[in-house]
Symmetry: C2
Amino acid sequence: QRPAPSSPQLATPAIERRVNDLLKQMTLEEKIGQLVQYNDSGYQSATSPTQIAANPEANNNVNSMDLASSGRLGSMLNTVGAERTNAFQHAAVDKSRLHIPLLFGADIIHGYRTIYPQPIGLAATFDPDLVQSLARMSAEESTTAGIRWFYSPMVDISRDARWGRTTEGAGEDPYLGAAMARAYVLGYQGTSLSNPDSVAACVKHFAAYGAAEAGREYNTTDMSEIRLRQIYLPPYKAAIDAGAATVMSAFNALNGTPATANRFLMQNILRDEWGFNGLVVSDYTAVMELVNHGIALDAATATRKALLAGVDIDMMSHFYDTKLPELISSGQVPMSVVDESVRRVLRVKFALGLFEHPYARGTEVTAAVPEHRPLVRKAAEESLVLLKNDSAGQSQSVLPFSTDARKIALIGPLADNPGEMMGSWSGGPQLADVVTIRSALDARAKQYGGSVTYAKGTEITGTSEDGFAEAVHAAEQADVAVLALGESGAMSGEAGSRAYLDLPGNQEKLLEAVAATNKPIVLLVFSGRPLVLDWAAQHVTAIIEVWFPGTEAGSAIADVLYGDVSPSGKLPMSFPRAVGQEPLYYNQFPTGRPPFHADLTKPPGPDSRFVSRYIDVPNDALFPFGFGLSYTKFSYGKVALSRPTVPLREANRESAKKVITATATVTNRGNRTATEIAQCYVRNLGASVEQPIRSLQGFSRITLKPGESKEVTFDLGFPELSFYNAESNAVIEPTHYTVWIGGSSLSSDEADFNVTP
Amino acid sequence: QRPAPSSPQLATPAIERRVNDLLKQMTLEEKIGQLVQYNDSGYQSATSPTQIAANPEANNNVNSMDLASSGRLGSMLNTVGAERTNAFQHAAVDKSRLHIPLLFGADIIHGYRTIYPQPIGLAATFDPDLVQSLARMSAEESTTAGIRWFYSPMVDISRDARWGRTTEGAGEDPYLGAAMARAYVLGYQGTSLSNPDSVAACVKHFAAYGAAEAGREYNTTDMSEIRLRQIYLPPYKAAIDAGAATVMSAFNALNGTPATANRFLMQNILRDEWGFNGLVVSDYTAVMELVNHGIALDAATATRKALLAGVDIDMMSHFYDTKLPELISSGQVPMSVVDESVRRVLRVKFALGLFEHPYARGTEVTAAVPEHRPLVRKAAEESLVLLKNDSAGQSQSVLPFSTDARKIALIGPLADNPGEMMGSWSGGPQLADVVTIRSALDARAKQYGGSVTYAKGTEITGTSEDGFAEAVHAAEQADVAVLALGESGAMSGEAGSRAYLDLPGNQEKLLEAVAATNKPIVLLVFSGRPLVLDWAAQHVTAIIEVWFPGTEAGSAIADVLYGDVSPSGKLPMSFPRAVGQEPLYYNQFPTGRPPFHADLTKPPGPDSRFVSRYIDVPNDALFPFGFGLSYTKFSYGKVALSRPTVPLREANRESAKKVITATATVTNRGNRTATEIAQCYVRNLGASVEQPIRSLQGFSRITLKPGESKEVTFDLGFPELSFYNAESNAVIEPTHYTVWIGGSSLSSDEADFNVTP
């Protein structure tokens, strides 16, 4: 049987009636128009000689305004600003025969004008409610510019730090990824898609794009159906279940079939299994790229394969509009398929209320909104992950700074760099809005009678050491050196794959030079991905991973450095010791020869050779998934389970939501109020198919006063306990489960139960 | 329908009669005895607390002599020497009730006492006839010690240089891998298994062990069925088709199911599809390790899963003998399954003629055989791959050395190191047999009135620079410095995974120090895998990859350095520029955004960003698959095809062997006789499933005199032109093919044809 429609808002009888009424009036050209998308320059360059050869027309310029005026354009991308969107919208609504409004989509990934952390940073908050609020906020801002569709959230699981788009997603874990995916969709789409301040979410990239082999952008992906379903698909599914109106097909091939021509993904799974009733748009020129993938020798074949596989809208390829007419007239594509795709597009437009309010709403937001600053500052604070905090021989840890008068040397190419606080995908914000670290620390230090001496030291990808001496001198004169090092925003994001994961340029050399002063060092790491911080972890006093924090970067960092806020972020991805460990993730399979208690820091000896290991680096992450320190200390009590066994018949149904409950008491053992992210991990031993050594199946943010205790509770049911068997069906079997509750993926407090036959 | 039995020698009516007659007489205990294998110390240690808990008996000592005497032992491993094998054999034959002989297996990977290069080095020869001769030779040597079963060939495709067992296989390519697999089997098994100097081949490790994730030994593997069939299975299939009598199940899990409990692999593919009628043995304690894999909570379950999946012999786990009795009495394992496994074991023993000649044959070989030295020297010569050969500002390339009097500085920890000439898996040879580089070059230099000054410089994993000065001094005094650097044998092989692929220890520093003398430098690289040679490739005059050459290491290297032989080896694996490129292989999928002609040596610019690339290293290999220089220069003429099109109905049948023929003329443009390995690559565009950018589908060794030309011919049929479609069936579709013929995977001479509908 077919499942219920994923979005009830797209399935109302009223919408269905309007869609069908309109469809009846449409010419073939107008229908095809709804299935194409251009940007406002209208030009799309074929990306290769092969492509140009495959479809000479595909290299023609198109005039988007003409197309809009004549009903031959359905949607537009990255047309920004109310004036421009309204101009195109007037052309469509006023001039085209059927007055069908355009839908304006844009790459709004982490805020429109008030910018919050990159998605990888938001994932570190483990705070879906916060993410939902931020998503709502950016929808409210963007809709004032006429944008009603975000190409977000990117929910691709990434287990390889080399891949650049790690920065756009929630990291390596399917459970966390699903929670984040849901939060974005609920925030973007609001209480109703039809609200003028709602935007349609576009879940991307369907599917498994994050598994790009060797971490190289756009590279092929290949995996078993079990891995696809167990690791990669859950966040997409969560987004669809949350009502996401649209999906974007991915650039990559999966098991030899490009995602953009993959009927198994878009029809069998997305529509037939999950009941998705929204529209699917290709990624940018992805239909054209089917020629490069080698599964189409010409544009007509690429068009046919993409449409029949389930891509409704051709983004920028200029293939659908040039090739569908002949494919339909020759019978290679049935008109019914085109009609169904048009229906999907129109459903979304009706559901968004575009026919009622096609234009940008209210007063256009053109700069960071003051009322939104507290929220993005909170987000940035929560995204910071404290990785190390030693005392450097003093009586207490270097962080937080005491409020005594204190001299700070602020060093590094990211210390006074407003543009780079944003990371990738942030064309919109104005640099003047950004609070840099330097400005925030300057203000804070003065407040306490201290001072900040700034020295850039080097460039992000610098080779010159000319600035080192100034930086070292500043450190020598200071009580503490704060180094703001790391990547530029452009080093991650799309096509930001790296084969080296070190600090770029000569920044590590700068760090070594400053560390040689023996002053306490606080390293702030900017990155869109896990970096190799091996040297720093051994030699630096304190390390905070700050990702790219956004508009309030400096404020949030100052809040954490000075202890106004205790850091609470936890890593959403494993930080490797060496790039040669990638892909690296916590929820591995056990192998037949786990290293158990072998000391992997030493070369193999007689008893430690024939185990699953490298001979030159330990297996584990330098900083593991779920890890993050606080300014206080949390302790965990014993894990308690609501019962020792669960009968299989109770558990093994999709509707079984709470078959067993795990609880533990968390206590704040320190002397300041702080927030902890308690995490619940599960392992399943004895199943018919190998299972990960542990898998996150719950988390909970709790704020505790000094000495305070609270119980955290995790309900485990079919979603948490099931796995995919060799036939790729989700099942629970009579097996043995272990449950851990703790502050990272290394938590050791556990309890066990059996599912009994 | 069932296919024909893979080995007719195991399927004769006479053998079947004898097997059934014997089986009828056997007690359950005697049957189980045939299904267990121990070494002669008899002890196997459970490798983990979990395993001991799972089966306390599994940690008991067993007495192999007692077991053999009482018919409770079927085969033994790594019992070496005629005296010891005969002693055990006498116990079995003379004392046990049914007098069933033992079968002695051993890890004879690259020779018994006369040692030839590691399999990765042999793969570089592209010379299956040579490999067959070497395999024959080692069978002849080993059978004098009673060994009739080799745990070889390892045919695991390895596309990740981090994995240590790259050294034991034929590298990254399925076509080359299949050719080598076939050669080993034909050599080991000879004209008839029943010859006393034949050994049964054991094809390992079934299956896909080489795809260990992140290159970490024993790690899980996960892939689509298409990739499994198209890339990983062909070498196994070739070995089975060549009549291999036995197969070893692998340590790894494939898509969540451990290979040792994987019925899809061992029954559906191996036996049902391929008609394999030999026996399957587990890898060492692999049955026990099913507990660690987490798919069995106890020894009985592990035993049941392994046997029912198709593992006939339990190597060293002590699970089958302790657990099968209760599994049979409880009906969890049918007696018919045990009987069938016993039949498979007995078939191999009868086919080997063990009942007629159970003991070690002839005079035992205990040291390198003088008559065998020319063959292993030839193998070592052919295995050397010349990667670079510059002139260092002189009128001609540094290699080969002129025979003028010449002073050589011979430097490095591998220059005078007999033990390390062997690589891993070489317990047997005597060091006194080995010709080191130092001894061979000493002799050769004297012959021409030159001299060799030796300086070790450093240790293989050295940190001290104390020896650098002596090495630098030696280079300063010499005409040329030869540096023998690289890995120890133990750095590759089983459990030899590395996260770093650089020269180990401080060897690169030594190289840099010697290179600073500005003397011509010849770098000899010892390794069981591709290393990162980026610095060397830029700064060193000549580089030869020598792998681990074996007993005649020094002689072969001297032959090549002095030009007695022009190097002819070609790389069987891609050498990366950085470990962060791994897995790296030439037969990649194209992606939708190939970099085309973008200059990837530069950071991305506006026109070179959004392509499949890294931002910090070019995509390609430093030295690609199939690459290797010669002392002469070969040119290739145009590729000619026997016809421009092939009708689909002619091509799309398994039996279609030569549907089109590609030819090209190769000319020796230099002034010395040399051998070239001409390679034929194919690409298929427009198929229903994405295909590699090129795939090796033929190669040919040709020796040409100066100025001589020869035509090379490659017949292409269903095996070369078919691929696996989305339903995992091998098919040919009406698509467009390109054929290249040239001297590496970068060859650019091509011709095209279509398969027409």
